[in-house]
Symmetry: C2
Subunit: 243 residues, 2 copies
């Protein structure tokens, strides 16, 4: 690991004001290492915990040191997003299996974002243009085109699909971060929410109360699968109607 030549170490003279030990354990400051550290913080504590000082702390230095490798926090987050998009595995388009492939792709994206807490928040109003993000877009669009969708419909649908997918992943992963820090707090929030809906006056909210448990039923997978089905069926019906 160490790039310092291995020499027999000499004790640092105690009268040296700053030993500046340049310990080989301390990871060298690079953009890659900074992105890794940032992602680790997000995975451990969520987006709100990410700060330049926190990242710098991992390298035993101050926040100012990071700005030599990263223009600002926004760029750092963009780099993290692209790193994570590199984890997404989308299959190469096969016209005979495009429906299954689309499902696979959407689950792949969702799972990756669900695994990184509320990182999905970072791509709310953003267009990811990193290399890994572009690779994913390319493959997703290829699957849609393989399914016989027109260029315009493919482009529109890709937007719609990735928006829904990322939001679903964010909803899953964000549950570990939002609405309280501990599991207990979060459980209390959700039961309180459930009780609140149950306590609504039926006279003013007839539909809402008649639905009852249907509103909160279904886990993340079931709801996500529903969304995929609706979108897929919708896209197919739309293209059928178009021609």
């Amino acid at each position: 690991m160490s790039e310092v030549p291995e020499v027999a170490e000499v004790p640092v003279p105690p009268w040296r004001t700053s030993p500046r030990s340049r310990s080989p354990r301390k990871p060298t400051l690079t953009q890659e290492a900074i992105v890794t550290a940032a992602l680790e913080i997000i995975d451990a504590e969520g987006m709100d915990a990410l700060s330049m000082r926190r990242v710098a702390q991992r390298f035993d230095t101050g926040a100012a040191s990071l700005y030599a490798y990263v223009a600002n926090k926004e760029e750092l987050v963009e780099l993290v997003v692209d790193r994570v998009n590199g984890e997404v595995r989308i299959p190469l388009a096969d016209p005979d299996r495009w429906r299954e492939q689309l499902r696979e792709a959407m689950f792949a994206i969702r799972d990756v974002y669900a695994a990184h807490r509320d990182l999905g928040r970072a791509l709310i109003g953003a267009v990811p243009i990193g290399p890994n993000s572009l690779d994913s877009s390319e493959r997703l669009l290829a699957i849609l085109r393989a399914g016989g969708l027109s260029p315009k419909v493919s482009a529109f649908a890709a937007d719609l699909l990735s928006m829904y997918t990322v939001m679903s992943g964010l909803e899953m992963g964000g549950q570990n971060t939002m609405h309280g820090a501990t599991d207990e707090e979060r459980g209390a929030y959700y039961t309180a929410l459930h009780d609140y809906f149950a306590s609504l006056p039926a006279a003013r909210f007839p539909t809402l109360t008649s639905l009852g448990d249907a509103l909160t039923s279904g886990d993340g997978d079931e709801r996500f699968a529903f969304g995929i089905d609706v979108l897929l069926l919708g896209m197919i019906a739309y293209t059928d109607r178009e021609s």
Copy 2:
């Protein structure tokens, strides 16, 4: 407006250390007034400009004064969201016109959020439970039920629809706020984005480059109408398949 009894005013003795003139022009501090002020700031400069100090400034006071009427910033934003949800006009369900009504409802929601910059960001991981928000949910669900959708499908679909709608509104309204402060900066961003996609190597990104202008084509309304069509057709196909 003033709740102080109307008495003939006496000049304030100049030896009073603090005249504390209690000018009637200065709006009285109430929760409603605070929410209004917060919304005005969001409308004028976006969510990032909203801070407790900025709100307090409008009442010629410090941020600490607000905490008597609002628990914290999170609650203030929730109140703003519910205020804005009160602007949404969703028609009462009519089984014969449910498709048109659903379109109307979705456009109503989107338009309202498009009119309030990036306020939509506030309901990313949140479940709006204010009275106005509940009224909107009630009416939206009633339309879906009137369309013959099952309770579970209605509940799932309502989630899916409102998510898509709010995000679309956010995309429209957020364009006035994100990617630069001035129109010029934002225009530069979008042309740079367009040029970047045009400059991608066709060997690595065959689909992406072959789509060309289709990726960036269509204004907000066209893309939103596409999404509505896909979702509507999908929901209908899903229910048909179910039975």
